[in-house]
């Protein structure tokens, strides 16, 4: 049984490979058996193919979702039923109201800004000589983890004061890029991460910086798919560049725009790493995902944590429904 409690790296890998092997064997056996049965009834085939996936989803997703919803109606230790108290707290206490408001602001501003930047960028560099290089530059932040990006931007925003009455050689050296630029311009350095509500915007910049590349890639592909006939027809009608953008490009890439917007919105709802790394949720920058973690794991208030998780789920459901319906619509068009 020692193998199951492996504590060396090698042991863990061995355990992993054995687990994979068992899984492959079992799955292989199921599929082989299904294929060997002559004229298997349809339901057997369906069950054999979807069964494992359904099992995984119900065990890994549906079961926890039910448990979470249940514990959101219970107290901190999950022992006493307290009705909707956790939800009442979430909507009435000022510190939670701010958390909800911040999350809404994130979900509105980040997708719009990233998509706008991605779209404009995609149009501008389309068929330019240096298109590949330009696209790579915008796409690169996608490869950086959120925590990595947050640390980079934390340095960009880093504040060192210009102290009154202190001789220049004893002044603290500016190590933040933005504040150094401000100081060069003869301005006072700014506490970017401290002063609300603007500090929220400075946090969102990190997410926009990462997501704009994603938006650009998808939208650029959609733009390239616009048929040349459409564009030529528009040109013959005498549209200028801006008219072409509004009346040809945007309507043509509308399905892609919707997908990009909703995908980024869903990613933004879950934002956790940026806030946790850069401000720890202080100075009025807390968001639901981070507050959920704090409540569940630091303050040991399982009920409140679960309630926040359910709220997050409730926020994301309309987005998913809209996304799916849009995808179906665009498939019908095709």
């Amino acid at each position: 049984m020692d193998l199951l409690y492996a504590d060396t790296t090698g042991g863990k890998f061995l355990l992993m490979f054995i687990a994979i092997a068992i899984f492959v064997l079992v799955m292989g056996a199921i599929l082989v058996i299904v294929e060997r049965i002559p004229r298997a009834p349809r339901w057997v085939v369906v069950a054999a193919f979807t069964g494992p996936a359904l099992l995984g989803i119900s065990f890994g997703l549906i079961y926890p979702a039910i448990i979470t919803t249940r514990s959101s109606f219970y107290d901190a230790r999950g022992q006493n039923f307290i009705g909707i108290d956790n939800y009442v707290t979430a909507f009435t206490r000022p510190e939670f109201q701010q958390v909800l408001l911040n999350t809404v602001a994130w979900t509105v501003i980040v997708p719009l800004a990233s998509t706008a930047i991605g779209l404009i960028y995609a149009v501008l560099v389309d068929r330019a000589r240096f298109e590949k290089l330009a696209k790579t530059l915008l796409f690169m932040p996608m490869a950086i983890s959120l925590v990595g990006a947050s640390i980079i931007w934390k340095f960009v925003y880093e504040y060192r004061p210009v102290l009154e009455g202190v001789a220049p050689d004893r002044q603290p050296a500016q190590i933040g890029l933005l504040n150094q630029i401000l100081v060069w311009m003869g301005l006072e350095p700014v506490q970017f991460l401290l002063n609300g509500p603007w500090n929220n915007i400075f946090l969102m910049v990190v997410m926009i910086w990462i997501q704009a590349g994603f938006a650009m890639t998808i939208l650029s592909a959609a733009i390239k798919a616009i048929s040349t006939e459409t564009i030529e027809a528009a040109r013959l009608d005498g549209v200028n560049g801006i008219q072409q953008f509004w009346y040809v490009t945007v309507p043509s890439v509308r399905p892609a725009l919707v997908v990009v917007l909703t995908t980024i919105a869903m990613g933004t709802l879950k934002v956790f790493d940026i806030v946790r790394t850069m401000t720890g949720g202080n100075y009025g920058t807390q968001v639901v995902a981070n507050e959920f973690y704090t409540q569940s794991f630091r303050q040991q208030n399982q009920g409140m944590g679960a309630a926040l998780a359910v709220l997050l789920f409730a926020f994301v459901v309309p987005l998913i429904i809209y996304n799916v319906r849009q995808m179906k619509k665009s498939e019908e068009v095709r």
């Binding site: 995984g56 603290p172 720890g280």
Partner: protein, 461 residues
């Protein structure tokens, strides 16, 4: 044929995905396995005979202490391992507080855990009464013999003694530069009024050069705010007295009560006074964004700050090669009380709780409360930065001056020792609203009243 091949590739891919997820759940924290053969060294084993022969047994220890501070701990178990034959498996985790509860929930508790907050101990006793076990008789005997009575109380939940104290730290310290004080002719203040008078003196003498008497920083990632709670606790212990402090930490005295308000006003006289703070670091609000590790450095680096109130463990934050001693580059003086005779100490520490009553676990818990361990730990910490309230510790085994001073304060049983109140309060306050509201008090200049009522509102019913 192609269809079959494609199918098996897909199967393999799904299998990989699931198995990888499983493996990811299992991995994580740093493990430290030091299996040693018994009877290795020729150390004196007489003190260990009472534990009997524990050859072949293993005790797992789970703590929040990670590299590099974990090595001295692992080394300090050596005499026990050598003499009894038991093996100690040490595991440290950054996410200890959350992970310990997860482990308990999953029913896979460690044998021994070092719990840094009595509040967490209370939560565990209340939530998992079947898993935690009472301290062994030997442990209790050691704690009664070698520790001040209040320490035993902090390891007790509802009249049952569970956890023995381990390490300790003293928070009532003000760091300063003996050199700078000498040059300016300043004396170490003996009372709170003298401290404020000295601050005014510094402003009058050096204010024009941009020097401020105090520097502070409460930034600490998602724990931002704790140094500010220490300020309030330290002052509360002085202005309101130990009885009120004790009642406050238990929730019997509210934050909005006049005694706490008065203490917060006193703290504000320093932390919110733009003439006093924030030496070398900016204005009042810069306290909120300055990482606590960096907050005292202006004393040494630019001399733009004279004093920094922070615990004994701040010694580790001075750059390598700094002489931390009464005549050196930096040292600390006792954060003065209201009068010269009232010298209460604010501090913290870890507690050793057991989750198994196997004889080797009981023996190891007893060992950790013994003078043998305290001295072994002191010897295994050649660079200092560690101290305990165990009176069986020989101060000569401590290497650094600040550790010696801390131990001297800790072992003076004539003075009250107040355990860090935020560690005693429920997590929703002690690791939640108290931190965030004190941060808002400084960062957003939130009013005293609003701060105190908001903390009261977070207190669980």
């Amino acid at each position: 044929m192609t269809s079959i091949r494609r199918r098996s590739v897909a199967t393999l891919a799904t299998g990989m995905a699931v198995a990888l997820t499983l493996a990811a759940c299992g991995g994580g924290d740093s493990d430290n396995n030091n299996a040693e053969e018994p009877g290795g060294g020729d150390a004196d084993c007489t003190a260990y005979e009472k534990y009997g022969d524990l050859s072949g047994t293993t005790v797992s220890v789970y703590t929040s202490i990670i590299a590099p501070e974990d090595q001295p701990h692992i080394d300090s178990y050596k005499p026990f391992e050598d003499c009894t034959g038991a093996t100690i498996n040490y595991e440290g985790s950054k996410e200890f507080e959350a992970q310990l509860l997860v482990k308990l929930q999953a029913g896979s508790a460690p044998d021994i855990a070092y719990i840094p907050q009595p509040g967490l101990l209370k939560t565990i006793v209340e939530s998992y009464p079947d898993q935690i076990v009472e301290a062994s008789a030997g442990t209790m005997a050691n704690v009664e013999q070698y520790y001040a009575a209040s320490w035993k109380e902090y390891g007790t939940v509802e009249d049952t003694f569970y956890a023995a104290p381990l390490g300790a730290n003293v928070k009532s310290f003000v760091w300063y530069s003996p050199q700078m004080f000498n040059d300016a002719g300043y004396e170490i203040p003996q009372t709170w009024d003298e401290l404020l008078a000295l601050s005014d003196q510094i402003v009058a003498d050096h204010g024009a050069e941009g020097v401020k008497p105090w520097c502070a920083g409460i930034g600490s990632g998602d724990a931002t705010g704790w140094p500010a709670t220490d300020w309030l606790e330290d002052v509360m212990l002085r202005t309101a007295g130990f009885e009120s402090y004790d009642a406050w930490s238990k929730g019997e005295l509210k934050f909005s009560d006049p005694e706490v308000q008065a203490a917060l006003t006193e703290v504000g006289k320093i932390l919110k006074n733009p003439d006093y703070v924030n030496g070398g670091l900016g204005d009042v609000s810069s306290i909120a964004t300055t990482e606590f590790q960096d907050a005292g450095l202006p004393i040494l680096e630019t001399g733009l700050c004279y004093m920094h109130r922070q615990a004994s463990f701040y010694a580790a934050n001075w750059p390598e090669g700094t002489d931390v001693s009464p005549e050196g580059d930096v040292f600390a003086f006792y954060f003065p009380g209201v009068s010269e005779d009232a010298r209460p100490i604010l501090g913290g520490g870890e507690f050793v709780a057991a989750f198994s009553d196997r004889p080797e676990v009981a023996a190891f818990q007893e060992f950790l409360a013994s003078p043998e361990w305290a001295n072994a730990k002191a010897i295994a910490t050649p660079n200092g930065g560690w101290v305990t309230a165990n009176s069986g510790l020989d101060p000569n085994n401590l290497v650094s001056e600040i550790d010696k001073l801390s131990f001297q304060l800790l072992s003076d049983t004539s003075q009250e020792f107040g355990f860090d109140a935020s560690d005693l309060m429920p997590a929703a306050v002690g690791q939640g609203a108290f931190w965030t509201e004190m941060t808002a008090w400084i960062a957003e200049d939130k009013a005293d009243d609003a701060v105190l009522t908001a903390i009261d509102a977070a207190w669980p019913n």
